[in-house]
């Protein structure tokens, strides 16, 4: 990898914007910015490259310097690290703008324009919507839709692999909600080095596990350099999507494009959704005669004997009306139904399974 000094890196417009935001955040979120109280608009500088990154191996003194910088920068990084919950699974993500833009992995968001829940470190749950994704590299964006001023981190401005600030061997740290959200534990912090660099993947020895996917990888200054993607069989193999991949597809992802043909996310196929109920015609709708417990209907609590009266807000009397709706829905889509049970009308939301 070629050497580049920080000075030569072209400035990204995002970076400039973030500097301004960082200042206002310093005022509104004093507790988070405590470590950076002295920073003002006039004095913000590129964080200095830690000297120990350029040593092949650390000595005893360097270990203390690494520890000091990690402890200084971990809190701000953690405040911006979130858990992403959808369906029965969960992954991680990181907030990169004050208004709640979240970077994550494509296999976590899994689709475009879907409702998900973002959980902050303190347990606060926020509504969010998936934006676009790049299915070939495992990059995705999510937008928190509740208005607010959120803690966020800076992104490495490098637009290409050879202009990013991190180099092979640099010390890095990872955060993520391993195995799902656990308020008592918080997100798990791991330290490692950048051990391999490829076009759209970097490898570190920060040990990852399920639930970390989509979580952030930081340089020792707390600047975001990657998003967790996948692991190999041995614990040394932990793969991340470098942030230059996000820069490359930024505008397309931001406006909600589903880019590429996988393998990290599959485009929804219309008509692929599965409800999991058997129906027969009844007086005031369609009577449920059987429910597959593991299906969308079973999970949403549909019971044998329920009368299906409405689908997506429209009254229904014939099976073919339901079939028509299903033809335009895909596995993973939500569908709203109304059922009549013991004389009472109930509205249920079903998340369609795959056929």
């Amino acid at each position: 990898m070629q050497k580049h000094s920080r000075k030569n890196i072209p400035q990204s417009p995002y970076r400039t914007l973030r500097r301004v935001i960082a200042c206002s955040l310093g005022i509104t979120l004093a507790s988070i910015a405590a470590a950076q109280q002295t920073v003002t608009a006039a004095t913000i500088a590129e964080p200095e490259r830690p000297y120990f990154n350029d040593k092949k191996v650390p000595d005893a003194k360097d270990l203390k310097a690494i520890q000091k910088l990690l402890q200084l920068n971990k809190n701000k990084a953690r405040a911006a690290t979130v858990c992403i919950q959808l369906g029965e699974g969960s992954g991680s993500g990181v907030i990169v703008s004050e208004d709640g833009l979240v970077l994550t992995a494509a296999h976590v968001s899994a689709g475009v324009n879907k409702e998900v829940t973002v959980v902050m470190e303190d347990g606060k749950k926020l509504k969010a919507l998936t934006l676009g994704l790049h299915s070939e590299t495992d990059a995705a964006m999510i937008q928190i839709t509740e208005k607010g001023s959120y803690p966020f981190v800076d992104i490495d401005p490098g637009k290409e692999q050879n202009t990013v600030s991190t180099k092979l061997g640099d010390w890095v740290f990872a955060l993520g909600h391993s195995g799902g959200f656990d308020k008592e534990r918080g997100s798990g912090l791991r330290l490692g080095r950048l051990v391999r660099i490829a076009d759209t993947t970097v490898q570190t020895d920060c040990t990852l596990i399920g639930g970390d996917s989509g979580g952030p990888l930081f340089d020792m200054n707390g600047v975001l350099v990657g998003i967790h993607s996948r692991v190999g069989k041995v614990t040394e193999e932990n793969m991340h999507v470098p942030v230059h991949v996000f820069h490359t597809h930024w505008d397309a992802m931001k406006k909600g494009d589903f880019i590429g043909q996988g393998p990290f996310a599959k485009k929804p196929v219309k008509g692929s959704g599965f409800i999991g109920i058997a129906l027969e015609k009844a007086e005031n709708g369609l009577k449920v005669t059987d429910v597959d417990e593991d299906s969308a209907a079973g999970k949403a609590g549909v019971k044998i004997g329920d009368i299906l009266t409405k689908v997506e807000g429209k009254s229904i009397t014939e099976k073919k009306e339901l079939i028509a709706v299903m033809k335009v829905k895909a596995a993973g889509d939500d569908i709203n139904i109304t059922v009549l049970r013991e004389g009472k009308s109930r509205e249920l939301k079903l998340n369609l399974g795959a056929r």
Binding site: M1, K56, V57, D59, A60, D62, K64, I66, Q67, L70, Q71, K74, G87, E88, G89, S90, G91, A105, H107, V108, L168, G169, F173, S178, G179, E184, R185, G186, G188, L189, R190, L191, R193, V195, R196, I197, A198, D199, T201, Q203, D205, T207, L208, I209, G210, G211, D212, S213, S229, R230, V231, G232, K233, V234, T235, E236, E237, M239, P263, F264
Partner: protein, 363 residues
């Protein structure tokens, strides 16, 4: 360990995070082969060059911690507590389980190595199943006891060092950082009654819904439908009351229960037996995270308080000290929970439990 060699086709990867989608990825995702941009093994976290920076800590482990062997194979480490050979270690690794007899027995012919000195007479003096700690004793003098860290607080991001794979004469370090909040690690209690319980609707007691085979409850003649009224001398109406009482018990302890059967109050003593012995043979499905983790500690949860760190150790490397850069012991390694999470009992609690166990040893 050079595990970073890639084949031309690249390596198979497991996706993280979203269960159902990742299962699909396990077989289909091939990452591109990395070019020349690869860090030499010795410069990596577990590489010899990085480990060399921890020579001072390695010496502390070499001289002030015990390596425990069975048949020349390491089964764990221990924290030296006194000059005359008291050693604190992880309890459950000292026992072996026989699937046929469904009994745990103490491993025999254990050996201890401290620095380059070998000790062949090892006795178990006390143990505590709640914390999974034990005191063993060797015949020794002039050992250097562990120096415990003064402060119970240890900040996340603090370097921690522990025993890595070891040769008979030379220890190696394993390094990482404190990575999450110290907390209780919940899980199934290590001892069990062997009954399924349900609170009665009128809150008059707790109904026995099921009695497990080979449990103390079965031996005591407890039947489905009995209504528990008193447990270990306490009036009970909530399941949590019983769980709180069992939490403090050791295997082999008896509790007195009073229960209602067909209108009559009956009294009986019940033995609390290790969960492992009652549930032997039961297959517990492996989670996806366990599948990607490899071997984990058999006892890896249900600790009243634990530190979490990111050192990836083998289950046979538990029981030893977790030290900071100053060489002070901040905890005792208690479990490899998975590939990303390891637990240690914090210094304060470990010393407290050690004192409590000491008081149970007849002088």
């Amino acid at each position: 360990m050079n595990t970073h060699k890639l084949t031309k086709k690249g390596i198979k990867n497991s996706g993280l995070g979203m269960g159902i989608l990742c299962l699909g990825l396990v077989s289909c995702v091939q990452i591109p082969a990395f070019g020349q941009s690869s860090l030499p093994g010795e410069r990596r976290m577990n590489g010899k060059g990085v480990e060399a920076a921890f020579e001072a800590q390695r010496m502390v482990l070499q001289q002030n911690s015990a390596a425990i062997y069975k048949n020349r194979k390491p089964i764990g480490y221990g924290v030296i507590m006194s000059a005359d050979g008291y050693i604190l270690t992880k309890r459950s690794e000292l026992f072996q389980f026989d699937a046929k007899t469904k009994k745990s027995t103490l491993k025999q012919d254990l050996k201890v190595i401290i620095d380059t000195e070998r000790y062949s007479k090892v006795t178990l003096l006390a143990s505590d199943i709640e914390w999974d700690l034990a005191i063993i004793k060797i015949e020794a003098e002039n050992l250097s006891p562990a120096q415990w860290a003064d402060s119970p607080e240890i900040e996340q991001g603090t370097w921690v060092v522990t025993n890595g794979s070891t040769s008979k004469s030379r220890r190696r370090v394993n390094i990482g950082i404190i990575s999450a909040n110290a907390r209780e690690i919940e899980g199934d209690l290590p001892v069990m009654l062997g009954v399924a319980l349900k609170e009665t609707d009128d809150e008059s007691g707790i109904e026995i819904m099921k009695v497990s085979k080979d449990s103390g409850a079965e031996v005591a003649g407890i039947l489905k439908g009995d209504i528990l009224k008193k447990f270990d001398g306490v009036d009970v109406t909530k399941r949590e009351q019983i769980i709180d009482i069992i939490r403090e018990k050791q295997p082999g302890d008896f509790v007195e229960v009073e229960f209602l059967r067909e209108g009559k109050m009956l009294k009986q003593k019940m033995e609390l037996r290790p969960r492992k012995e009652i549930q032997a043979g039961a297959t517990i499905p492996q989670s996806r995270n366990d599948q990607m983790s490899g071997k984990t500690s058999e006892r890896r949860n249900s600790f009243p308080m634990a530190l979490q760190h990111d050192i990836d150790q083998a289950p046979r490397q538990m029981g030893g000290p977790l030290i900071n850069l100053a060489g002070k012991t901040v905890g005792i390694n208690i479990a490899r929970a998975n590939r990303a999470e390891s637990f240690a009992i914090p210094a304060k609690e470990a010393q407290q439990i050690y004192k409590e166990m000491l008081s149970t040893i007849p002088q």
